[in-house]
Amino acid sequence: MKEFTYTIEDPNGMHARPAGKLATYAKQFDADIRVHAGEKESDGKRLLALMSLGATCGTELHFIISGSDEEAACEQLERFCRESWGRGE
C-alpha cells in the first residue's frame, strides 16, 4: 500500500472538471485508488464519487493506493496533483 496527501488548490474545490481529470488519469492504473477527505471516502476512478466528497479549496485529500502498480501509480498521481491538476485549467 502506498499513500500521499494533497491539499486542493483549485478555488472552486472538487467540481466536475477537476474530478473528471483526476478520474480519467487514475483509470490508467490497475491499482485500487481510494481518496479520503475527512470522514468521506471515494473511488478515485469515479467522477461521481469524487464529486460527492464535496471537497472544497483547502481540503486535504488522502490517497491510498494498493495493487500491482501501486508504486508507479502513487508517484505519478502525486506528481499529477501537484503539477497539473489544480492549476490554470
Binding site: G20, K21, L48, G54
Partner: protein
C-alpha cells in the same frame, strides 16, 4: 440471455434545444473527457432528472447534480458552463443527496437570465461519466420538452 441487451434512455433535463456534446462551449465537455452525453440549450429554468436513480450528490455550488441509476450508470447533470464560479447564486436545488428520483422529477431551478448576465453560457450538459458501461448510443437532437423527450438511447455493456 437478455442481460446486456437492455436499452436505456436519457431524456431532456429541461425544455429547449438539444445539441451534440461537441457543441457545448467547454472543451472538457465537448472533448468527451468527462463522459458521453449531450447538451441542451434551455429555454426555461426548470430542470428535471433525465433518468431515475439515487441522487448521489448536489454540488456545493448547486449547479451540478449526480444520479446513480439502478443499472450502475453514473449520470451528471451540469447546468451552465463554468457556473461553479457563481457559488450557488441563481440556483435552487429541489433535491438532496440520498433521495431517489424518477425520470422527469424536478431537481433544480435556475435563473437563466442571471447566468447570462454573468457572461456564462446556460447550456446544460447531461453525461454518462462511466461510458465504458454503454454502447450503441443514438441521439435525437432538436426541440425537446423537459422530462418527456428522450435525447440519448443506448445499450448496457456487460462490463462492471
Amino acid at each position: 440471455m437478455l442481460f446486456g441487451k437492455k436499452t436505456v434512455s436519457l431524456c431532456a433535463p429541461c425544455t429547449g434545444m438539444s445539441v451534440p456534446l461537441s457543441e457545448i462551449p467547454d472543451e472538457a465537455f465537448a472533448g468527451g473527457m468527462l463522459g458521453d452525453g449531450f447538451g441542451v440549450e434551455p429555454s426555461e429554468g426548470h430542470f428535471c432528472a433525465p433518468v431515475g436513480g439515487h441522487v448521489e450528490s448536489v454540488a456545493e455550488a448547486k449547479h451540478a447534480y449526480t444520479i446513480l441509476t439502478d443499472e450502475g450508470l453514473d449520470v451528471l447533470v451540469h447546468i451552465g458552463v463554468d457556473t461553479v464560479r457563481l457559488n450557488g447564486e441563481g440556483f435552487v436545488p429541489r433535491v438532496s443527496a440520498g433521495q431517489y428520483v424518477k425520470t422527469g422529477d424536478v431537481i433544480a431551478d435556475a435563473d437563466l437570465e442571471l447566468i447570462r448576465k454573468k457572461g456564462l453560457p446556460t447550456t446544460v450538459a447531461v453525461l454518462v461519466t462511466n461510458p465504458e458501461k454503454i454502447e450503441n448510443a443514438e441521439y435525437r437532437h432538436g426541440s425537446v420538452a423537459c422530462g418527456r423527450d428522450a435525447v440519448m438511447s443506448f445499450r448496457l455493456t456487460r462490463k462492471g
